[in-house]
Symmetry: C2
């Protein structure tokens, strides 16, 4: 069982979590619980480290100390939950990253788990003790604390589940599962009982904030069945709740398309009048990569004028101005007429493993959008998803049109 | 160097501390720093554990988790100070109790240090790295976190100094040394350049809040020279500051009396008409000891009526009502006429190792008090101190009279 910061934000919610854990124990299960820091605590700690490191401007030599400071948040929650569990008669103890140990590499602030010897946890659970584990943290072989970076507690939960060969990893969160699309946009959105790892990965990277990409990758690699469910259910009522993320083969209800995702965190950069010779793309995207700007969709088209081309690509909104500056600073060496930034765009995607074996998915998509008068600016595809970039004003309209076009509103 | 919670209460003060440390390093010293939690943080953490453990009413089985939660405060400060030091160009790293390790017994919440292998710290310091140590915490041989109880960071500092055979242990605090008496009461009080361990111990147990008793005991046992000085001095200006707590033999300026201490945290309980036979005292104080009530001064006197005695004893104010209840509940089995509580009392003490070899110290004390019309209710003595219990209204008057009587206002 994994509980995020909102689920353990104060003592009242921690008591709620304890009752959920107690109900699983009462059902005869051996339970390990992974907890995040109380909501807001990590930000407080990070702000302090920013202050302490202010003149260092991100000096990486301080990252080991950053981890020592920030990891304290999960330590507090783990201790408090263990106390609360004992308080309601459930045997429990807290486990910190260095106590298990959760061995990581030395990439402080974004460490990767290398190994989790399961003996300590399994021993405790076999003695009937709930293992309450501080998420997000690990330890190097040299004994320094590390943290796993954003979404780290989900990763801890999946890694622990894999290490102890758990039957299931339940991620409790503030939504009651994975939906066919955002219910705030489409009231007919419905909860999926199951979704494949691959689809969940696409959903996560396309803006659905239910699970962090890294934890899904790890679950897929180790075949850990992950269930996403609401932490607001009543104790003992978890049966049949939420969405199971699992292997494609285990999906009972086969679908061609499983969901419609969208992201408003997009910016389109257009270059006009590029010289049409080899090496131009490589120079542009090389410079952006060097500056750690993540480029998503790319389309290149020949302009009517002889030997010149236009290019459009998208980046995250927060990188947009920086990307434009980088491109512009290379204008003389690359040689192009103009660069234009458009932040008024959104990306809408349909996702489904069924696309692999079914033709016509793209045709349905483009047809549905055309029917509503939605103009497609850029297209990108993978084996199990099709994304289009559109004018942001049409986002909700497009999402609803696609949700209906694939019959996702019907059971 | 040890810095308490007030000295590291926010980032600005942590930067101040870093500059003090940097100045010592610049003077060519190898430095280990022990830090407390930021002021207020420990109380916040303790309040959470109180909430999490509320139904358990002090269930000791949760104390290991209490320690896990509470120890996080010092962890944060240690990381932040290490970052800040690096930031101003001083090589540093944080050390948590389990990393050094500071091995303790398993008495969670009030653990005693058993062993500190010095190799890790000495290795780091020999490499020119400031060792920033989280105070107040340790680890059991089984790998659980422990805390040392109140005053724990002072104890950590002295224990570390003993383990690494430091030349000196500097305790930075919010006063600039140990005074002949409380300067808020007697403006002529003067800072002592030196004080013996024994005197410091009496001062600490008699109400002077400069150093915790336990840390002084440990310093005495290991012969660690401890200096108390203000954390508000300018960097590089520590020479000749503060008060050195050291062995009696090293004291240059010999005195008969070194200081006058007082405590208002006293309550007097009087029992009238006690049966005058063996076993009565044992029963009363046995019951109080069983309830963890600490009894300080005791005096017994025969009443005029045949075979009956009166008894007076003092306890801390917070135990007073409980002590009365315990005594009263035993009234029928012990047999006495009445019990009376008086909380309007104070204890005033004179302390000095010179008393051992000088007669007349008590005579001077009683004479000075009589001259000012201060009535003495109870007297208790040890080899190097005399304490009297008086009406609380006379506290300041008595302190000033005694300070003058022993010439403490003169250099």
């Amino acid at each position: 069982m994994k509980f995020g910061g909102t689920s353990v934000a104060d003592l009242e919610r921690i008591r709620r979590v304890a009752r959920l854990v107690a109900a699983e124990v009462a059902d005869g299960r051996k339970v390990a619980v992974v907890v995040s820091a109380m909501a807001g605590k990590t930000n407080e700690l990070v702000a302090w480290t920013d202050g302490a490191g202010e003149a260092s401007q991100g000096l990486s030599s301080s990252d080991d100390e950053y981890d020592t400071v920030v990891a304290s948040g999960e330590q507090v929650t783990a201790g408090l939950l263990a106390m609360t569990l004992r308080n309601i008669g459930v045997s429990a103890r807290s486990w910190l990253g260095w106590q298990i140990p959760i061995l990581t590499d030395e990439a402080h602030g974004r460490a990767r788990i290398e190994e989790i010897p399961p003996e300590n946890l399994i021993g405790a659970m076999d003695r009937g003790e709930v293992a309450v584990i501080a998420g997000f943290q690990g330890v190097t072989k040299g004994g320094r604390m590390t943290t796993l970076g954003r979404g780290g507690s989900d990763t801890t939960a999946v890694a622990i589940a894999a290490a102890i060969k758990a039957d299931r990893c339940d991620i409790y969160t503030d939504v009651d599962g994975v939906y066919t699309t955002d219910p705030r946009i489409e009231a007919k959105a419905r909860r999926l009982a199951q979704i494949s790892y691959e689809e969940m990965l696409e959903m996560a990277s396309l803006g659905a904030k239910v699970l962090h990409t890294r934890s899904v990758e790890m679950a897929m690699a180790h075949g850990v069945p992950v269930r996403v469910l609401s932490s607001f259910i009543e104790p003992g009522q978890s049966e049949g709740r939420g969405t199971m993320v699992c292997d494609e083969e285990e999906i009972v209800e086969k679908r061609i398309v499983s969901g419609v995702a969208y992201s408003r965190d997009e910016a389109k950069i257009s270059l006009f009048g590029l010289p049409d010779h080899p090496g131009v793309s490589s120079e542009i995207f090389g410079r952006l990569a060097d500056a750690n700007v993540n480029v998503d969709m790319i389309v290149q088209s020949h302009a009517r004028s002889e030997g010149a081309a236009n290019m459009e690509f998208t980046v995250g909104k927060r990188d947009a101005q920086r990307a434009v500056d980088i491109v512009r600073s290379a204008q003389s060496s690359i040689g192009f007429d103009d660069v234009v930034l458009d932040e008024d765009v959104a990306k809408v995607s349909v996702i489904g493993v069924g696309m692999r074996s079914h033709a016509g998915v793209a045709k349905t998509m483009f047809g549905a959008l055309a029917e509503k008068g939605v103009n497609i600016q850029v297209i990108s595809t993978s084996e199990i998803k099709i994304s289009v970039l559109i004018d942001a004003a049409y986002t909700e309209l497009a999402v609803r049109a696609l949700h209906a076009a694939y019959g996702l509103d019907r059971l």
